[in-house]
């Protein structure tokens, strides 16, 4: 799922200081799992942002709303009610949600309250770790189900580099060496011989370097096998 982190309160306050009425809109989707989620998180943020110490002038007043998925334009347009005197929206969604609100409410400034961090999973209570970069060209079948594109700091497809030490990455003792994990996993699968296969230069055209990516439902349908 998409993991996001709340921006520093001071940064958010600075970005909304010039408005009188701000509507804080929470998202009930992915980011609600790694934050406290839904209406409650919007209320807590609105309360924190109401404190006059963050502002040189009078603080804005706040309203709160929640929508299940801020990244679906039709859903947002049909169900999201923004009070008529709102002069800015503060979105507690990922970057996709923020942009969907901005497109839907073309005349209102939409400001992000979160930093969208990564695609990850909950590894242990309160700890999410990045697992996927959405490169559009998945290599997990060859790497024992562990993604070197995401989890190796140099995204080496033929790792590990010389900086792997005691199972940790050279960048931090808190980061696992992805290639140590891959090798351990290949060994457990009885496939360590596969390590010596050289992974060819990767096609990154489906990654962000190829420009903004689009997926049409028609393509998915085309690929479905016909009914027997």
């Amino acid at each position: 799922m998409i993991v996001a982190d709340l921006k520093p309160i001071r940064e958010i306050a600075e970005s909304i200081a010039s408005f009188k009425k701000v509507t804080v809109i929470a998202c009930g989707g992915c980011v609600s799992v790694c934050l406290t989620g839904g209406a409650r998180s919007a209320e807590v943020l609105a309360r924190d942002l109401s404190h006059p110490r963050h502002y040189k002038k009078r603080p804005p007043t706040f309203d709160t709303e929640t929508i299940q998925r801020q990244c679906e334009k039709d859903f947002v347009a049909a169900y999201l009610k923004v009070p008529h005197d709102t002069d800015a929206i503060l979105s507690m969604a990922c970057g996709a949600g923020v942009q969907t609100l901005a497109e839907t409410f073309g005349e209102l400034p939409v400001i992000p309250a979160l930093n969208t961090s990564f695609l990850g999973s909950l590894d242990e209570p309160g700890i999410w770790r990045e697992k996927c970069q959405g490169c559009g060209n998945c290599v997990l079948a060859f790497t024992g189900g562990i993604c070197p594109v995401t989890r190796c700091a140099k995204h080496l497809l033929n790792g590990p580099c010389g900086g792997s030490s005691n199972g940790k990455c050279e960048i931090s003792k808190d980061v696992d060496c992805a290639w140590q994990l891959i090798i351990d996993r290949l060994k457990a699968l009885g496939r360590l011989d596969d390590y010596e296969k050289i992974f060819p230069i990767k096609d990154w055209s489906s990654d962000r370097g190829g420009g903004p990516r689009t997926m049409g439902i028609s393509r998915v349908r085309d690929q479905e096998s016909p009914a027997p």
Partner: protein, 330 residues
């Protein structure tokens, strides 16, 4: 193995069934290795500024005692004068440079372009590396590239030379003629794949290997034994990496702070046991002893002496190790 008396010292002649091999490039380093000599390479780090005199001065110190000089590519991710311009300065001095290229900062377009740029000056050696993560350098906020990895750079450089083609498939007019090298770290983890990784680099096209600094000789010899069992020492020339320690403090720093470095406690103890003023001399002694021991090990084709900001001591190390004079090649 036997020695031939030369004026001024003993020169090494290798009788370890190292037959004269056919060369594929105009590289002087390749010629020395193919003739069965123990090669000596060293390295110069470019300056953090645009004064070419810095690299020229370092090269002057070592040029008569080595067969080729590596120039590092923004090592430890500190921004420096580029390795390509630096090797051109060395080439203009009539020296034999090894262009180090890391894949951290350039995509396949820039890497191929720089290989051609180097080839246009007849730079005949390249060392393909991943590069230290930018976190260690002066721009930890930078984006990294890693479009391809070091393994793929080796293969790409060989493809450009042997097939005369770009990675995109088009023909190269006057392809590069580079002797292609790679690094190997026998001390990084997991140890069990370190020989496999060497095999993989050789399979990708590496013709010479320069290793990480060797302090744990037993571990290095175990790695090399496993490499010999697979015949890897006959498929590529392995140059043992040597870095003299200036002090016990440096040894401790290397042990604790430099990723992938294996510095045994006995070595730190030995350096600490002499007064600080004498520690540099002790460091040189250890370095010479290391070379003397590894000279006898089958599969060692030469030495890569990385005297970090201590280039002036390289001639002495080479001479005391019985590796001087260097062979003359055409």
């Amino acid at each position: 193995m036997f020695f031939i008396l030369n004026k001024g010292g003993f020169s090494f002649f290798d009788q370890r069934e190292m037959k004269m091999r056919k060369t594929k490039t105009p590289s002087r380093l390749e010629k020395v290795l193919a003739a069965g000599h123990l090669a000596v390479t060293s390295e110069c780090g470019p300056p953090r500024g645009s004064d070419p005199a810095v690299i020229i001065k370092k090269a002057e110190m070592i040029k008569d005692h080595v067969d080729a000089i590596n120039v590092t590519d923004n090592q430890t991710a500190m921004t420096r004068l580029c390795s390509l311009a630096s090797v051109i300065h060395l080439k203009a001095m009539g020296l034999e440079p090894v262009l180090q290229m890391v894949v951290r900062d350039r995509n396949r377009i820039a890497l191929q372009s720089d290989i051609l740029g180097a080839a246009s000056f007849d730079i005949n050696n390249i060392l393909c590396l991943s590069g230290d993560h930018q976190k260690f350098g002066d721009c930890p906020d930078a984006q990294n590239v890693y479009d391809i990895d070091s393994m793929q750079l080796i293969r790409m450089a060989r493809h450009m030379r042997d097939e005369g083609k770009f990675v995109g498939g088009d023909d190269i007019n006057r392809p590069p003629r580079m002797f292609v090298g790679a690094a190997a770290n026998p001390f990084a983890d997991p140890f069990e794949i370190r020989v496999s990784r060497l095999a993989k680099k050789i399979e990708a096209g590496a013709e010479f290997i320069q290793t990480q600094c060797i302090y744990n000789l037993d571990k290095f010899e175990l790695w090399l034994k496993q490499a010999r069992e697979r015949g890897l020492h006959e498929k590529a020339f392995i140059l043992a990496g040597i870095t003299p320690m200036k002090s016990a403090g440096m040894a401790r720093y290397m042990k604790n702070r430099v990723p992938g470095m294996d510095v045994p406690d006995e070595l730190i103890k030995r350096l600490s046991s002499v007064p600080p003023k004498k520690q540099p001399e002790e460091g040189i002694h250890i370095c010479v002893e290391t070379i003397e021991r590894l000279k006898e090990v089958e599969g060692v084709s030469g030495f890569h002496i990385m005297a970090i900001e201590w280039e002036e001591r390289v001639p002495e190390i080479v001479e005391r190790s019985g590796l001087y004079p260097r062979p003359k090649t055409g």
